[in-house]
Amino acid sequence: MKKVMGDPEQVVGDALLGMSAAYPELLTVRRDPAVVLRAGGPRLGEVAVISGGGSGHEPLHAGFVGDGMLAAACPGPVFTSPTPDQMTAAIEASDSGAGVLLIVKNYTGDVLNFETAAELAEAEGHRVRTVVIDDDVAVTDSTHTAGRRGVGGTVLLEKIVGTAAAEGTDLDGCAALAEGIVATVRSMGVALSAPTVPHVGQPSFTLAEDELELGVGIHGEPGRERVPFVDAEHIVRSLLDPILADLPFAPGEEVLLFTNSLGATPQLELYTAHGIAERLLAERDIRVSRRLTGPYITSLDMQGISLTVLRMDGERARYWDAPVHTPALRWGR
């Protein structure tokens, strides 16, 4: 395993040092417990939207801390949910009195740790609402599993709800907006290669030269099915078909299309996939009115892509378009 790192145990801490150096005006990074805060402290009357999860998915979540998105992020060790003390520290530092919305990706560890943190914070007098995002259609049978995973939809959720909070929407309003998004966003991913976790030192799974891992998660968990390698058109279809069938998305709808690199995918390939997805959606008369393309929720050095489709309406479009200023998403200022 070759990585640009020092002590594997310090990899997250070392990266946080680098982030705080790279964005001194935007972020305040605290250690022990590790939290990434929006510089400038809580804003009067503004709901604090907070998220967190295992590291290794950068820029998620710390790269989305800033104006118009997250008030704070809690980075866990690589692929491991953070702990309640990080979350309560983030809540403590961010709650202006308007309350806190916790955005939690649906993994057992994340849910349990955020649950504990919410209890502790409420006991301290904070108003806390939690929204659990589970947009991954690769996990089909949710009564026999830990439920669908939270993946690409998280990025869109954090932007739209983060902006709503910045514009003064109250805690109930933010929570309702978030629940609505969770209900109408769907994603699926595919891996061409596995990530290598620093403390493991070898790839999380092994794919033959002619295999794809379809429905892969973002933690190097193997996916739903191992299928023969196919060309870009078929790869995109194998992601888009289950996504569209699931909600389902109907002809005439307006959507946001998010084509995501899972880490090590060259942009040539990512744009190839995006172009095909746009064409396939047009063929089905689904109108793409907003798009996002890039590495926004990754799995270390995994090669692969994911697609996310979110149903749009006027309110969501307005919050999406409004200014955002974070390390990884920035426009309008």
Partner: protein, 199 residues
């Protein structure tokens, strides 16, 4: 043999050793059907405890371990093991020494805590499949050693038996049928921890 706070701490030091020794094995089990961090998560948590253990009575020792695990382990295992030790601590109240009945009560409280938090049933291929048979096996024991011996043996069997199961909880559940054929890392770590409690 009765069991003082000192004894509990000594037992937990053995657990720390075991977790260190088996870190790579647990990582490997989790790599195959999960995300490859279970061994590292537990190592981080138990090492953090070993660096600064406090408390006198069994309950105090267990409680401090529980809060350390909750704040250092993360993932699914952190809250689950944390809750288990927290409930165990509550179960032994202010006893200065634990007898077999207290040990069984602690084990049962731990199991109840895991089930309350994680909602797993036996057969879901989780740590419950090691812990639940351990509690049952310990119940008829007369001495602390017998209770722990029986628990460890049953947990080992239970962990081994998870190999044939299809996971319905935790990360391995995403694999569906493909999770069969591999031991559950959390069940394995439960068996290892229970075994290490015995001198």
């Amino acid at each position: 043999m009765a069991c003082t706070g000192e004894d509990v701490r000594a037992a937990l030091y053995r657990v720390v050793e075991t977790v260190r020794e088996h870190r790579d094995e647990l990582v490997e089990l989790d790599r195959v059907i999960g995300d490859g961090d279970h061994g590292e998560n537990l190592r981080r948590g138990f090492d953090a405890w070993a660096a600064a253990p406090t408390g006198e009575s069994p309950a105090e020792v267990l409680k401090q371990l529980a809060t350390t695990l909750i704040s250092k382990v993360g993932g699914a295992a952190g809250p689950l093991y944390g809750t288990a030790f927290l409930r165990a601590s509550t179960a032994v109240r202010d006893l200065a020494e634990l007898d077999a009945a207290a040990v069984v009560a602690a084990l049962r409280a731990g199991l109840d805590g895991v089930v309350a938090r994680g909602k797993a049933e036996p057969g879901d291929k989780t740590m419950v499949d090691a812990l639940a048979p351990a509690v049952t096996a310990a119940e008829s024991a007369v001495t602390v050693s017998e209770a722990l011996e029986a628990a460890a043996r049953a947990a080992a069997e239970g962990a081994e038996a998870t190999r044939d199961l299809v996971a319905r909880k935790g990360r391995a559940s995403y694999l569906g049928e493909r999770s069969a054929g591999h031991i559950d890392p959390g069940a394995r770590s439960t068996a290892l921890i229970l075994r290490a409690l015995l001198p």
